[in-house]
């Protein structure tokens, strides 16, 4: 017998099903408000459906009315009424409670392209545009297959050079959107390996996206958040098509094409490339994937090398930074394996586990070892004939080092051990790593690596920049977990004991007879514990992405040391260099900037803090040894940027382009410069108006109501900016942002490290983040409104019950 579901329950089922589908069948970005309105539409449809027929309506109503009226439902009725009344109360609470959820930004990932674009003084019809490089190859394929492949390979090779000197900082070595600057960006750079990206697109779409960059996006693509440069300003047409050809080649995908014949030929070419690559040996893999940075002969001199700091490893000199073999022994094969497989965080070396099998990595380890010219893996009794003129060992019995640095006697992490470690640190490490571990070289020495390139001591307060040492950034878990901490400390211990070869970091454990440890066993563990503890006051990037101002009673501080600042939570953001617009910067040193915000009725104050190893005041005596000889020293500087009051909105979100705004959306830049000793110049503030990526910033004649103060100490700048929350009517500053409570305000940052040659367009920056001065919690509203709503609904329910029971048809006392 068929079970018939009563009409009311049918409606409930449909509603629940609709809610579940909306929640789970769509990408997790469906906003709550949209879900609620869709559900209401479904509900309205259901009511319409059931009320359109008298019979159905009665059936639908009957269980509801019965519950409200009948005597035998009393037990169900009253709890139900309470629950039903609580629901709208909760909805009201949800709406009025203070929210820190930032405005929703729904970005179209593949916005629709325009019909045509104008670049290179030509008009390109995007509907019909095809990649001329690929078309030429396909034409050749008909006549001369060999020549066709030759020109294809040439285009890919040229495209690869374009990619590795322009794109890979963000889109990554493996085209997965994880370049070394990517973590500073939001949205993240496109992952070309994802089959949902370029494999779905025509090459003309890529041509549009590349040549016109972020500013060429329609509003739905949120151009204001994009760091994608306008490449037609920096690359010629041929280079753009070559790099497009390279992208598809690298990820083994074919573009979407209209002509089935052409599409088939392109797929065939792709298949043959894929099958050839499947059987590559270590040497071929090296030349295809590694040589672009490490060089064809392993000397760390590939075409991408000059854009990188740290530079790619030179494999020829037997100097390996991150190894676990003791002393000056060559690294273990496992060390090289781990470096290839896991990569080196804080550098441009990615982990290759997705692209290479373990067996391929094993082969690569042998390839890398064979580049050595210092005989570190040659057997001791190897004769001269076993080496070539450059010193490469030619036989296949290269040594495998098995000795491992002993990890024994770990001293548990404790305040006591940290205090002991601090003493040892001050004696042995402070001169390079600085008083507070920020790598600020209290010795004032100019450090070089063994190749003669400048090198800086690690900032021990920023673990996310550490390589092969901080486990939480190396596939580990939460850095605050005990196990993670112990593992990280063991790695610090290894660095202390073994040293970092090829750099000024020395070893501290004796490995030879007749020597004593530079720091004894316990001391090395204490100092490792201390080095770990230096992160204690660090806010990691991403921990608090909305900057929340704190309301302050009374005057806002005038100094960077004021105790008030300690009560304000800090937000930290990653900096990335200006790679967007010429002149570009590729090798920044400062990595992150932190901000705290205080405000009162009249004013708002920002404290910017950023670690900078050098106080760059041109002509200053303190750091006279530190400047690079080939780099002019400039003044350190820092800036905040806000849209003009009328140049942004939060619903829907609209902002100026994050680099200097655009023609329709202007910004104001609050700039502070540290000044110089020679020529004598005090530190100073300037207000700039920015009106777009191609127009010069214009400084205002006066800084008016902007108060600034800066101080450098122990490897850190702290710079205070203070200004009225709104400009006076009719003043020079009219039109600048007004800092209102409850309003989400876009803000971005920039920093110039003068000692690193940073000046004008050469600087680091962040994209937009949100600043919020939270509303005070109005307890009457937050709790009163929901309570009143619930009470109202309950009252209405009671009245309804009373009314229904009174109107009950005669003879229906029992309700049976």
């Amino acid at each position: 017998m068929r079970v018939r579901i009563p009409a009311f329950w049918q409606a409930v089922l449909v509603l629940v099903a609709a809610w579940l589908i909306l929640s789970f069948a769509f990408p997790p970005f469906m906003p709550r408000s949209l879900m609620i309105s869709y559900t209401i539409i479904v509900l309205a449809g259901l009511l319409l459906y059931f009320s359109s027929d008298e019979q159905r309506w009665r059936e639908f109503k009957s269980p509801v009315i019965a519950t409200l009226r009948d005597d035998n439902r009393t037990l169900l009725r009253w709890p139900l009424l309470v629950v039903v009344s609580l629901l709208p109360g909760y909805a009201v609470y949800d709406a009025v409670k203070p929210s820190l959820e930032k405005p929703l930004e729904l970005r179209q990932v593949h916005p629709s392209p325009p019909a045509s674009i104008k670049v290179y003084d030509k008009s390109f019809d995007l509907a019909t545009l095809e990649n001329p490089v690929r078309m030429r190859v396909l034409e050749q394929l008909e006549q001369d297959e060999e020549a066709a492949w030759e020109s294809y390979r040439e285009a890919v090779r040229k495209g690869s050079l374009v990619y590795y000197s322009n794109c890979f900082y963000c889109h990554g070595d493996q085209l997965d959107g994880k370049g070394h600057f990517a973590s500073a960006l939001d949205p993240l750079p496109t992952d070309f390996g994802d089959v949902g990206t370029i494999a779905q697109l025509q090459e003309s779409f890529l041509f549009w996206r590349i040549t016109t960059g972020g500013p060429g996006l329609p509003k739905g693509g949120m151009p204001w958040n994009s760091a994608m440069p306008v490449w037609h300003e920096m690359l010629n047409e041929e280079e753009v098509w070559n790099v497009i050809t390279f992208l598809f080649d690298y990820v083994s995908q074919v573009p979407r094409m209209w002509d089935p014949g052409i599409s088939k030929s392109v797929s065939r070419m792709k298949d043959s490339v894929v099958s050839a690559r499947a059987s590559m040996g270590g040497e071929e893999i090296y030349q295809l994937r590694c040589a672009v940075c490490h060089g064809e002969s392993g000397a760390g001199d590939g075409p991408a090398a000059e854009f990188l700091y740290p530079r790619p490893r030179d494999f020829t000199l037997g100097l390996w930074k991150y190894k676990t073999s003791p002393g000056d022994l060559a690294p273990r094969d496992a060390d090289l394996f781990d470096t290839i497989k896991l990569g080196l965080e804080g550098s441009s070396m990615p982990g290759w586990s997705k692209l290479f099998t373990d067996k391929q990595i094993d082969e690569l380890v042998q390839v890398v070892k064979a580049f050595d010219t210092t005989a570190i893996w040659a057997p001791e009794d190897a004769d001269d004939e076993a080496f070539d003129d450059e010193g490469h060992y030619l036989k296949d019995d290269a040594l495998v080092i098995n000795d491992e640095e002993p990890i024994e006697g770990q001293v548990p992490y404790s305040a006591e051990s940290v205090a002991l470690g601090k003493e040892i640190f001050e004696e042995n490490c402070r001169k390079c790593h600085g008083e507070r571990g920020r790598g600020d070289l209290t010795s004032g020495e100019f450090l070089e690596d063994d190749w003669g390139y400048r090198i800086w001591p690690r900032d021990l307060t920023q673990p996310w920049t550490w390589r092969a040492t901080e486990t939480s950034t190396r596939g580990g878990g939460n850095p605050r977990d005990d196990a993670e901490r112990e593992a990280t400390i063991r790695n610090i211990y290894r660095r202390v004991s073994i040293g970092i070869r090829g750099t000024p970091m020395p070893s501290h454990r004796a490995t030879d007879e007749g020597e004593e440890d530079a720091i004894p066993l316990d001391g090395r563990w204490h100092v490792a514990n201390y080095a770990y503890s230096l992160r204690e006051n660090t806010t990691w990037p991403g921990e608090r992405n909305v900057i929340q101002g704190v309301e302050w009673q009374g005057e806002l501080p005038d100094g960077v040391d004021d105790a008030a600042w300690r009560e304000v939570p800090q937000s930290t953001f990653r900096l990335f260099p200006n790679i967007i617009k010429q002149d570009r910067l590729f090798t920044p040193l400062n990595d992150a900037i932190s901000v705290r915000t205080l405000y009162n009725e009249k004013e708002i104050a920002f404290l910017l803090e950023f670690n900078d190893r050098t106080e760059s005041l041109p002509g200053g005596a303190v750091m006279s040894q530190l400047p690079d000889q080939d780099e002019q020293m400039f003044s350190d500087a820092v800036a905040l940027q806000f849209p003009k009051e009328s140049a942004y909105s939060t619903a829907p979100v609209e902002k100026p382009l994050f680099r200097h705004g655009d023609a329709k959306h202007h910004t104001t830049i609050w700039y502070w410069n540290a000044g110089s000793v020679e020529p004598a110049a005090e530190s100073r503030a300037i207000l700039f108006d920015a009106t777009g990526p191609n127009s010069k910033l214009s400084p205002r004649a006066s800084t008016g109501d902007l108060f600034t103060r800066g101080a450098w100490q122990e490897g850190r700048w702290r710079v205070l900016f203070k200004r009225p929350r709104g400009a006076a009517e009719g003043s020079d500053n009219a039109g600048d942002i007004v800092f209102r409570k409850g309003q989400f305000i876009p803000v971005s940052f920039a920093n110039w490290d003068g000692n690193n040659g940073e000046v004008r367009s050469k600087h680091t920056q962040t994209p937009w983040f949100w600043l919020l001065l939270p509303h005070e919690t109005d307890y009457n509203l937050v709790y009163g409104a929901p309570a009143a709503t619930t009470l109202g609904f309950l009252l209405a329910g009671i009245l309804l019950v009373w009314y229904l029971r009174r109107k009950r048809p005669a003879g229906d006392e029992s309700g049976a």
């Binding site: 010193g391 001169k431 063994d450 190749w451 000024p504 070893s507 020597e515």
Partner: protein, 243 residues
């Protein structure tokens, strides 16, 4: 020194002199009959420049104050000290006649002593620290001897005879006290000498023949001179280094 800092990679410079190709046949000891000698004096092609004053701004108490650089040492009569002269590519000849004992390389008043030394291959030795402050003893070479070790006051670094693996240049520095500089030349043949404090040198018991003499000075770089040695004769070879 700091103002003259050159950013060309250090290794690039030193390798020109340092790289005795690994495949070059090893020097063989053979009896030398009718051996001649090469002797002479190293001078400058001009007046000796006043030495640069090195600024000592770290551990001043232990190191002593600012000091003139000892990189270019010129005697009152114009002789240049610490110049390495050696016969290039000589396959066989006299027995090793350098001091057989261990070498000692000290760090005193934050300076390397001796500043320049010539040692035999596979020679053992010791690096001392006679100062009251620690040094980061850091060598740079092309696989000859690479180490970077903290040496505490009064402590030492033992260099066993297995550690020095090849012949060629080893530059020494301390990353805490950047004014400290020094170098070892690990000789590939016994016809390798260091000029004395008056700039004099002698290469003895040289088989008769034509030779190329490589001349190296830490600051003035490398040059070469050709010389012909007659049987049993002393050949004069004066060297004028260009400033």
């Amino acid at each position: 020194m700091k103002t003259l800092r050159i950013l060309i990679p250090v290794l690039g410079c030193l390798l020109a002199f340092a790289a005795a190709p690994a495949s070059a046949a090893k020097y063989k000891v053979a009896s030398v009959s009718d051996g001649g000698s090469i002797s002479g004096r190293v001078t400058l092609n001009g007046a000796a420049p006043a030495p640069e004053i090195l600024k000592v701004d770290e551990d001043v108490e232990a190191c002593g104050g600012d000091r003139p650089s000892d990189e270019l040492l010129v005697s009152a009569n114009g002789g240049v000290q610490n110049v390495i002269l050696r016969i290039e590519k000589i396959a066989a000849g006299k027995d090793w006649d350098m001091p057989a004992a261990e070498f000692t390389f000290d760090q005193k008043k934050c300076a390397f002593t001796p500043r320049i030394m010539v040692i035999k291959p596979k020679m053992a030795g010791v690096v001392l620290n006679s100062d009251s402050v620690g040094h980061n003893f850091h060598t740079i070479s092309k696989g000859v001897f690479n180490i970077n070790k903290k040496i505490q006051p009064g402590s030492k670094l033992a260099v066993s005879n297995k550690k020095i693996r090849k012949t060629g240049m080893v530059k020494a520095k301390c990353d805490i006290h950047s004014w400290m500089g020094g170098a070892w030349w690990v000789a590939d043949n016994p016809y390798t000498v260091l000029s004395d404090k008056d700039g004099n040198f002698t290469l003895t018991n040289v088989p008769p023949g034509k030779y190329s003499i490589a001349i190296w000075h830490e600051k003035l770089g490398e040059s070469k001179q050709q010389v012909e040695v007659g049987a049993g004769a002393d050949t004069k070879m004066d060297v004028v280094l260009k400033l």
